[in-house]
């Protein structure tokens, strides 16, 4: 199978994670392929959010949190001493479970990442903002009110705005931590369509507690349980033909 030979976008080897003295991730190793959607599933508290937040080092802001092992993106260790965390976070975007638009205008929200990166040219900004909002399937709904407050948008629109904001800085990887869990079914399906379209251009890792969602949108699926990676395979295999009993029990709804 060729995709085992090609270099993975994200390569995780023997990764452990600790909150203070308690170990929450045990020896995680997996290869995440480029330009595909990889879903992380598992019951609450199994460590999938902690894991995904370790990829862009968002866990750095938690005191007493520590990871050991390696996470490599394009062959470079994310936790190496000389890694520029700011540059890492530009390259690896993140969308959160609860949408968090800034209390600024729609325009300023999407422009935020660009402005702190130093971009000042208005025409460039306008262009990228339009492109990002279009990619997030939000442009037509907001193009006439770019300078209105982002807080006036609906929940689903706010989440798409957060996606546009993340896409604006042109990341290579987009991490999504349960992006649709706070949304109604219609907004959720819009987000899922979006994810499907985005994978042509971005590597996507999505945490979801909704198995049907994982089955719908992802190419590869990783099943986590109590901080361990139980099984990782093509999505079809995980859902139709799981190798581990625990996986089978989970995906058939025997627990979770």
């Amino acid at each position: 199978m060729n995709d085992i030979q090609t270099e993975s976008k994200i390569s995780v080897r023997n990764f452990d994670f600790f909150y203070g003295p308690s170990k929450v991730l045990h020896d995680i190793s997996l290869e995440i392929p480029a330009q595909k959607v990889t879903a992380l599933i598992g019951p609450s508290g199994c460590g999938k959010s902690t894991f995904i937040r370790s990829i862009n080092r968002m866990n750095d802001i938690i005191p007493e949190a520590k990871g050991t092992g390696t996470i490599m993106i394009d062959g470079k260790d994310v936790y190496a001493g000389d890694t520029d965390v700011v540059e890492l976070r530009r390259k690896v975007g993140m969308v959160f479970q609860k949408s968090n638009p800034f209390p600024k205008s729609i325009y300023d929200n999407v422009a935020y990442g660009l402005k702190i990166g130093g971009m000042r040219n208005k025409r460039q900004l306008d262009e990228i903002i339009e492109r990002s909002l279009t990619r997030a399937a939000l442009w037509h709904e907001v193009k006439d009110r770019l300078h209105d407050s982002a807080m006036a948008l609906s929940g689903g629109q706010q989440q798409r705005l957060c996606i546009a904001r993340a896409l604006a800085v042109d990341p290579e990887i987009v991490l999504m931590d349960e992006p649709a869990s706070a949304l109604d079914p219609i907004a959720t399906s819009k987000i899922e369509e979006l994810i499907y379209e985005l994978k042509d251009n971005y590597t996507i890792v999505i945490v979801t507690h909704n198995m049907q969602q994982a089955a719908r949108v992802s190419d590869r699926t990783a099943f986590f349980m109590l901080g361990r990676l139980v099984e990782y395979a093509d999505t079809n295999a995980i859902f139709m033909n799981p190798k581990e009993k625990m996986t089978e029990d989970y995906v058939t709804g025997r627990f979770g």
Partner: protein, 283 residues
């Protein structure tokens, strides 16, 4: 209905009535002050009051134009001094809430808040007046600034902590450094509330008299200079009220009325601002 239930209901009713009475008793002084001030002062407030200078001792007429402007200048200096200091301090306390240093700073702010205003005035006297051997508006502004600082610090800290953590994470995830995230996202998000807190602090210091007595001193004449003594509404009211002249008493009431009006307006503005901004931040 059992006897027990009837007794409990009666007890509850009695307490409700006592609480209502307590509220009324607490409001009586406020009501009386407002009533007196309005009764005596509203009538004496006229156009001259705002535009004319005080007349020489013994003559009737004139106004408190210099004192009104003086109060504005003094709270302006206080704001210029207290807002940056108090604001940055509040940011630090919100960003590093658990350190020993922050606990000490918080305690110091609370203590400063409780220091009698006349003591702060004496301190400003020693700091600004004695070295140059002259009373000045600057000294008065500094004294008021010290009084404002604790209020600004606590308000800023509390409001910054109320900003949802998701905003910080969103900013960091886009590649912002910590300080960038704080100053470009968190502070702007809390700014409406912080500005309101500043308005309230300004209202408080606008009404101070004791700290101005030996810093800004007072001035019969028009002065906007920072290095000269300056009149203020509060000190002028104090001076006029002690005088033997009826006309000055009348003007003192007018001054008191104006002070109450200023504080009322600032408080209402602060309330309206809070309501408007809450509506903007939470649709």
């Amino acid at each position: 209905m059992t006897a027990n239930l009837r007794r409990r209901k009666l007890f509850s009713r009695v307490f409700e009535i006592l609480c209502a009475l307590a509220v009324v008793v607490a409001l009586i002084p406020l009501a009386m002050i407002l009533f007196y001030v309005i009764k005596e002062g509203a009538g004496a407030l006229n156009w001259d009051f705002f535009t004319k200078m005080p007349k020489p001792v013994g003559e009737t007429g004139g106004g408190m134009a210099n004192a009104i402007v003086g109060t504005l200048i003094l709270i302006g200096i206080a704001a210029l001094f207290a807002i940056p200091v108090g604001g940055i301090c509040g940011v630090h306390l919100a960003e590093y809430p658990e350190t020993k240093f922050s606990s000490a700073v918080r305690f110091a702010a609370d203590v400063l808040n409780g220091v009698p205003s006349i003591v702060v005035g004496i301190f400003a006297y020693g700091l600004v007046v004695l070295p140059v051997k002259r009373f000045s508006a600057l000294a008065g502004g500094v004294a008021l600034g010290f009084l404002m600082i604790p209020i600004v610090v606590r308000t800023t800290e509390e409001l910054l902590r109320l900003v949802p953590g998701g905003l910080r994470e969103g900013a960091l995830a886009l590649g912002a450094t910590r300080s960038r995230a704080v100053f470009s996202v968190i502070v702007p998000a809390a700014l409406p509330g912080i500005l309101t807190g500043i308005l309230v602090a300004l209202a408080r210091v606008a009404g101070e008299t004791a700290p101005l007595l030996f810093t800004a001193l007072g001035n019969r004449f028009w002065s906007t200079s920072l290095t000269q003594p300056i009149a203020s509404l509060t000190v002028q009211v104090y001076t006029y009220a002690q005088s033997p002249y009826d006309d000055w008493h009348r003007q003192a009431w007018a001054g008191a009325f104006l002070l109450v009006m200023i504080i009322l307006i600032l408080s209402i503005a602060a309330r309206l601002a809070v309501r408007r901004l809450e509506r903007m931040n939470r649709p």
